[in-house]
């Protein structure tokens, strides 16, 4: 996950904890120096989200094979069924295993969990013109500069913003491409890692990129200059 401003940071950290606990996975929430060191004016923060801990009262098999890939989870406490949280491959009780069948079943269960999560995640957010000719695709603080540039140009601009980066929802990018819109990947780095992820997940290569890696964030002028070309 990746934050773009103060409100985003406040909301996404809550989602990050909820996903980590419900899906029993580690979640990486990316932030940027540009965001941490900027000042944002906000009237009020959204209401806090409901905490989801994904706990059951009395479980038996801590790593039970389930159809959605999520096993029942309970917190160690006196009187509850004990278990082993094992970094070695294990059976439904957490006991180490080298049995091929058990290993495949447990691996596939974890894979299904990511599919379940992917279905639950929201689509990337679209900002800008309803009938755009050029759409930037990006994440993090690049959102802020592209949105700031929009009122300063007559071009029909759009911005597809990714808060949730992995598992990646890519349908919207393919849709825009079908409509003949020019898609530009905007990344504040040299290697273009986000583009590589899109290629890997969607098998779709975005040839147009606006990259900046001179140790500075994007400025509105960078955007305006790029679209002049």
């Amino acid at each position: 996950m990746s934050v773009s401003d103060a409100t985003d940071a406040y909301e996404l950290i809550q989602d990050a904890f909820n996903i980590a606990e419900e899906y029993q996975i580690s979640v990486t929430l990316l932030t940027e120096k540009q965001i941490s060191e900027s000042l944002f004016n906000i009237k009020t923060l959204p209401q806090p989200k409901k905490i989801k801990r994904g706990l059951v009262k009395n479980g038996q098999k801590r790593y039970e094979i389930t159809s959605n890939g999520i096993s029942p989870r309970w917190i160690p406490q006196k009187g509850k069924k004990t278990y082993l949280s094992n970094s070695d491959e294990h059976d439904e009780y957490g006991i180490s295993t080298e049995d091929e069948k058990e290993i495949v079943e447990m691996s596939e269960k974890r894979r299904r969990k990511m599919d379940t999560l992917k279905k639950k995640l929201p689509q990337p957010k679209y900002y800008g013109d309803e009938k755009p000719t050029l759409v930037f695709v990006g994440m993090g603080s690049t959102k802020n500069v592209v949105l700031d540039a929009m009122p300063l140009t007559k071009k029909r601009l759009g911005y597809l913003h990714y808060q949730y980066i992995y598992p990646l929802k890519f349908e919207k990018i393919l849709e825009l491409n079908k409509q003949g819109v020019k898609i530009v990947l905007i990344e504040n780095n040299q290697e273009g890692g986000f583009g590589k992820l899109i290629k890997e997940e969607a098998d779709f290569y975005i040839p147009n990129t606006l990259r900046k890696y001179d140790g500075r964030p994007f400025f509105v002028d960078d955007i305006l200059e790029y679209i002049k070309k």
Binding site: I51, K78, T82, N86, G94
Partner: protein, 281 residues
């Protein structure tokens, strides 16, 4: 409810070599917990990776077997979340003095109320016997056919240099004494470091029963740091027992201002988010 040692058994067949010291260490650990009247569901064990960590499915309790060298931080997390659980970390000399030595140093300094069992078999055993910093200098080992090049770390000297609240040394060949040491360690309110000199007949044939029996000297519980230092630095004798205990050093949690007077445990306090306290008016 009466607690019996068999309550701690699992139906997993041990994979340790015949004569491995881990058998006795587990026996002493189980005995100590039974004598302390603790049931398996009141204990969290944090296991490292290694032959010692392979004990993770051979004892009942809430167990976590995480990453090599990280048995201590996982144990610290479990302890801070819920102090009602007794937390015991097990780690090898390799994981403790190489991959995770930073955790050892800071856990001693922070004095978390947990117990650490260092299974010191003087080698990286699970990966088939490479040198660690407790391997005898000059000893020929896997990938070091001409003998170990570097010097050693004396675990006792290292721990005592950090002003610990508890450091003890036991021997896997003496279950009775080891049981008593583990009991004292679990009861001690602070970070209890227990170094266990562990037999590894497969990769450490030199450090066998005869070697230890000729050198071990048992001591009574000691709280004089100078004496403790002289015990661990002695070149001829291996002192076992509670080498140093200082109950005056407060444990980490008791020193937290924002937890004073709180009756609940952190694990039960995850209810709602409020960032009011960190925002200025």
């Amino acid at each position: 409810m009466k607690i019996d040692i068999t309550d701690y058994n699992t139906n997993v067949t041990p994979t340790w070599c015949p004569g491995c010291g881990n058998f006795n260490i587990h026996l002493a650990l189980k005995k100590a917990l039974v004598e302390l009247k603790k049931s398996p569901s009141e204990v969290v064990f944090s296991f490292d990776i290694g032959c010692n960590g392979n004990g993770g499915d051979k004892i009942d309790g809430f167990r976590v077997k995480g990453l090599h060298g990280r048995a201590i931080p996982l144990a610290v997390g479990a302890h801070l979340a819920n102090r009602k659980m007794s937390v015991i970390a097990s780690i090898g000399d390799g994981g403790c003095l190489h991959e995770g030595i930073d955790h050892l140093i800071h856990a001693v300094r922070s004095n978390y109320d947990i117990t650490l069992l260092i299974h010191n078999n003087q080698n990286f055993a699970l990966t088939t016997g490479q040198i660690t910093s407790t391997t005898i200098e000059g000893k020929e080992m896997y990938a070091f056919p001409k003998g170990k090049t570097e010097g050693n770390i004396n675990i006792g000297e290292l721990v005592l240099s950090l002003e610990p609240s508890f450091y003890a040394r036991g021997y896997s060949g003496d279950i009775v004494q080891l049981t008593e040491i583990i009991k004292q360690g679990v009861k001690h309110k602070g970070f209890s470091v227990i170094e266990i000199m562990q037999l590894c007949p497969t990769y450490n044939k030199e450090s066998n029963h005869e070697f230890f029996n000729g050198r071990i000297s048992k001591i009574e519980k000691n709280s004089d740091i100078k004496k403790a230092r002289s015990y661990v630095s002695n070149k001829n004798k291996l002192y076992t027992g509670i080498i140093y205990c200082n109950s005056k050093i407060k444990d980490y949690y008791s020193k937290l201002e924002n937890r004073k007077g709180k009756k609940t445990e952190l694990v039960n306090e995850v209810r709602n988010y409020s960032i009011k306290n960190i925002l200025a008016d």
